[in-house]
């Protein structure tokens, strides 16, 4: 195509886009959007706290540092992964945002792993049975579904050019938030098999969100939207 013909093509496209122009509502900053999502997680945690024995939970968490460190790690992972997902759903943000949840995720994994190595049992807890571990898996996955859906409804308002990283961090945020909420329904001490069950649940959630999220987020191939 010759240069003048190309210019005509661009002019025709500009005319079409200008003709389609409608006022748009500017997207809220990623921090506020992440905060809104986390407020929903907090509300669920509040309802769960009302329905469970808070003293037993406090006793269990305070008995050993690794117990509360794991919860702090998963909570921070959920917050920072959600924040990085909202950053990555903007078309101009650096892919390095995906690294943000890694430090708390390491803390979460390390503290959970340390719990498995601990020989002493915490008073009032018992080792998990196979049924408990299956329940953990189901709870994490079941909680992740509404949290992921909410996250994707919010992420769809952006326009990501890095859908892979966006869905990956969104999946991590949902899985970490579910793992945090799990502590309300987790009346037993951590073991290696329990950690594996949690790990499998998180991997399933992240993989599902990564797979289905690519279909939910706006396509990378363009078509004009008014």
């Amino acid at each position: 195509m010759s240069a003048p013909a190309d210019r005509q093509d661009h002019d025709a496209l500009i005319q079409q886009l200008t003709g389609d122009l409608a006022p748009v509502k500017r997207l809220a900053p990623p921090f506020w959007r992440a905060l809104m999502w986390f407020a929903v997680v907090t509300a669920i945690a509040f309802v769960a706290a009302l329905a469970t024995d808070r003293h037993a939970i406090a006793h269990r968490l305070m008995a050993e540092p690794d117990m509360w460190l794991a919860v702090v790690g998963s909570t921070l992972t959920a917050m920072l992964a959600a924040y990085s997902a909202f950053q990555l759903c903007l078309p101009d943000r650096s892919s390095y945002w995906a690294l943000l949840p890694f430090p708390p995720a390491l803390l979460w994994i390390a503290a959970s792993g340390a719990g498995c190595l601990r020989v002493l049992r915490i008073a009032g807890t018992r080792p998990p049975t196979a049924g408990d571990e299956r329940d953990c898996l189901i709870i994490i996955i079941a909680l992740s579904i509404p949290l992921s859906l909410l996250l994707f409804v919010m992420l769809r308002k952006g326009h990501t050019l890095l859908p892979g990283l966006t869905t990956l961090t969104a999946g991590l945020a949902a899985a970490a938030a579910s793992a945090t909420l799990l502590m309300f329904f987790h009346p037993f001490d951590a073991t290696a098999s329990d950690l594996i069950a949690h790990g499998v649940a998180v991997v399933i959630v992240v993989a599902c969100v990564r797979y289905f999220g690519g279909r939910i987020l706006p396509p990378k191939n363009n078509s004009a939207r008014a």
Binding site: I14, P91, D92
Partner: protein, 226 residues
């Protein structure tokens, strides 16, 4: 001024003008930015940012002016990533992306940085698509020419034309009610109800006329073989 440092990576003897920013390669490989050009860049960026803010509010004139100013910037970014024959594809793709992502732009940030990152990512995406398509498709025009379709009948289009002419002539010889039934129901694919409204005949009468017309046409065409 992060965008200036981003674009001043061209190495020695690199000189960029206009929207890209003013920087010149020093003999030792370092780059320097002319102060007066930096001021001009800042005001130009602020102007583009203001145009985009107006476009977000639905100002078509501002939007058209903005997109026209974006074209040379996109071209310059695309030239680093794509071959010459693909640059205009990148430009069109980026213009569509800007349109679809315009609500994600925050006027407190640099417009040129926003545009440059989007242009760069879209150019990379396009080139990945091109490479993927090339790996799946075979371009062999001679091979295609040397393998004709053995089932193809060169006389078929001519025969179809003659048959259509014969049918048209046969329809013209039908009585008026039958002719109307064929024209509306068969040739124009109208419903019996619509045909009834147009011709004033009852639906039952149209059915009878159509049945008689088709029988008459069949006999007429069988009697006059091609």
């Amino acid at each position: 001024m992060t965008y200036v440092s981003t674009f001043c990576q061209g190495g020695p003897a690199t000189l960029n003008y206009g929207l890209i920013g003013g920087c010149i390669g020093a003999p030792d490989g370092s780059t320097a930015v002319w102060p007066e050009r930096r001021v001009a860049d800042d005001s130009s960026d602020a102007r583009l940012s203001a145009l985009m803010a107006s476009a977000q509010a639905g100002d078509r004139a501002a939007y058209a002016a903005l997109l026209r100013e974006c074209v040379p910037v996109i071209r310059r970014v695309a030239m680093r990533r794509a071959p010459a024959d693909r640059i205009d594809d990148v430009v069109q793709d980026v213009l569509l992306t800007l349109h679809n992502a315009r609500h994600t732009y925050d006027p407190s940030r640099s417009f040129r940085a926003w545009l440059s990152v989007i242009s760069d990512r879209r150019a990379i995406d396009l080139m990945r698509r091109v490479v993927r398509d090339h790996s799946r498709e075979i371009h062999a025009p001679l091979h295609y020419e040397q393998h004709p379709d053995l089932d193809a009948d060169p006389a078929a289009p001519q025969e179809r034309t003659e048959t259509a002419k014969q049918v048209r002539q046969a329809v013209e010889t039908l009585p008026q009610r039958q002719r109307e039934a064929v024209q509306h129901v068969v040739l124009s694919e109208r419903s019996l109800k619509e045909t009834s409204a147009i011709t004033g005949q009852s639906e039952g009468s149209i059915k009878v006329s159509l049945h008689r017309a088709l029988r008459a046409l069949r006999l007429k065409i069988e009697r006059e073989p091609q």
